[in-house]
């Protein structure tokens, strides 16, 4: 793409970027009292791409997702989600935009007084008012996707940690959102259960091609996502040959002390010269 030659061209190019991106963070700053959490964070998540966001605990990863959802407001900077600037959007306006997003929370955040079916159907029931046959069909479809159809009438307290994450994924995808946000979906889980969750995320990515932003501190999860593809024939995730990467674009973003220190693909990540990232990757 030729470089913009005038301020007008530059503005047009920026608008084009925002239109072609599911999320755009532009010089975002955020502090809690005297502590700087984000210091000029800028990045883009193009439509159809999956971006894995790394950083040590407290580096502002979850905060970044909450900003994208409009659950928090930045001190300065601009955040655009699905082409709409959310930085100064009123809460009432945000509700309609959030209907186009799906979010999987760190600890699942299932409503403990509702059954699994009611949790998954929550958004649809809010739209229609009652739990009808159509909603039931879609709930079972979403639960079948995460292989938990048998838990329909159970309460979240009766499920294991891994099952709760899977129900949270089902709740996030039931409305087929245009953008999915995952907040440490494998955090605190054993390796086998983590792998099941990663497989579901890969399945969602490859089957629905939904743009996704995934926060994690487990590098192996993101590498698994980059080197595996979901096979709809066998209904399993399969390892791609060495040097091959998944068809859906996948990128990595590393945060350190509230700043983006890396934004690139798996190849660039593997060959980075940054000492901190090399240590993190190893």
């Amino acid at each position: 793409m030729p470089a913009p030659t005038s301020p007008l061209d530059s503005a047009a190019a920026a608008t084009q970027d925002h239109v072609g991106s599911a999320i755009v963070f532009d010089d975002v700053w955020l502090s809690f009292e005297d502590i700087s959490v984000l210091r000029g964070v800028s990045f883009k998540l193009p439509f159809g791409e999956t971006k894995a966001l790394f950083g040590v605990a407290g580096s502002g990863k979850s905060t970044l997702l909450k900003l994208a959802l409009g659950l928090m407001q930045p001190d300065s900077g601009k955040i655009t989600v699905l082409g709409r600037e959310v930085t100064h959007m009123q809460e009432q306006e945000m509700f309609s935009l959030r209907g186009r997003l799906g979010m999987v929370f760190q600890e699942s955040a299932l409503f403990d007084s509702l059954t699994v079916a009611e949790n998954v159907a929550f958004r649809l029931m809010e739209e229609r008012g009652i739990y009808d046959d159509e909603i039931d069909r879609r709930v079972r479809e979403a639960l079948r996707f995460v292989e938990l159809e048998r838990t329909v009438d159970m309460f979240p307290s009766e499920l294991s940690g891994g099952m709760r994450r899977r129900v949270a994924i089902a709740r996030a995808i039931i409305t087929q959102p245009e953008l999915l946000l995952y907040d440490s979906p494998t955090g605190g889980l054993d390796p086998v259960t983590s792998n099941t969750i990663v497989e579901l995320i890969v399945k969602q990515r490859d089957v629905s091609k939904t743009s996704s932003l995934l926060v994690t501190h487990r590098l192996q999860d993101a590498f698994t996502m980059a080197t595996h593809q979901f096979d709809t024939q066998t209904n399993q995730m399969r390892h791609l040959p060495r040097g091959h990467y998944c068809e859906v674009p996948m990128s990595f973003l590393v945060l350190r002390d509230g700043k983006v220190i890396f934004d690139g693909d798996v190849h660039q990540l593997a060959h980075t010269k940054d000492e901190y990232i090399r240590e993190y990757v190893s």
Partner: protein, 260 residues
């Protein structure tokens, strides 16, 4: 423990009052915006109204008994024990019935709301609700506020009746006074302004209980310890506010209704 400067402390308190006022106003304004969660209102009415009925009724019965016992001694000195019905009726209907029902419901439900919503805050369920496109103010706060106001009104009517029955128990069983005379003096002593004062208060108290409970619940910070703190603070604040507001509402209504 870190000490807060007086300026920061004052700023914090002003911000809290501002947030509470916004929540209280929003809880009523939401009644005029769709969607209206009728099912949640009915569910809350059941939890708050029927759940509190036994304790409100028993508390009101015993306050009626205590009031009659205490007034019997004083009235006996003037040979006016037959006026027990009048004293109990005015005392219970105007003041003690609404106040006691409000305090009992505050103790039971302000704490329940604060702990329930507080737990939802610390487990990110409130954020999840917002992320799913639902306004927690509409879904959680408004149904609780409307149900508490509605149910406390009826609980107070039943509580007043139980208070009068308690007074009658003392009058007829312990003091051997004429039962018909008790009810007759009780009925005749009540005027329009007494009934209005006695029925406006529970609606206001219900609003205080629910908004305070929801406010402290939604402002919870600091995990499970924060939930415990929010619960305690909600009960204390609701009770103090009910007693303080009772003074002003009584005076205001007495002036407005010409009952001074």
């Amino acid at each position: 423990m870190e000490l807060t400067s007086p300026t920061e402390f004052a700023k914090g308190k002003v911000a809290s009052v501002q947030e509470y006022t916004f929540l209280a106003g929003q809880s009523l304004a939401n009644l005029f915006k769709r969607p209206i969660y009728t099912g949640d209102m009915v569910q809350q009415a059941d939890l708050i109204g029927f759940g509190s009925m036994s304790i409100v009724l028993s508390a009101c019965f015993f306050i009626g008994v205590a009031l009659a016992l205490n007034s019997a001694t004083t009235l006996g000195r003037f040979g006016a024990r037959t006026l027990i019905g009048e004293l109990v009726a005015i005392g219970v209907v105007r003041e003690l019935g609404p106040l006691l029902a409000g305090l009992v419901v505050a103790g039971r439900n302000a704490s329940g709301m604060a702990s329930e919503l507080g737990s939802m805050v610390v487990t990110e369920q409130i954020d999840a609700m917002r992320a799913l496109g639902t306004d927690p103010m509409k879904k959680l706060v408004t149904p609780r506020v409307i149900s508490t106001m509605f149910m406390l009104f009826f609980l107070t009517i039943l509580g007043d009746l139980m208070g009068l029955i308690g007074g009658n128990f003392v009058s007829s069983v312990l003091l051997r006074l004429n039962e018909r005379e008790y009810w007759n003096t009780a009925w005749q002593s009540l005027v329009f302004s007494d009934i209005i004062i006695g029925l406006v208060k529970p609606v206001i108290f219900g609003f205080i209980v629910a908004t305070i409970g929801c406010y402290y619940g939604l402002s919870t910070k600091g995990g499970t310890q924060g939930v415990g703190r929010a619960t305690t603070e909600a009960v204390v604040a609701a009770m103090i506010l009910i007693i303080a507001v009772d003074v002003f509402v009584t005076q205001l209504l007495m002036v407005l209704l010409g009952a001074t």
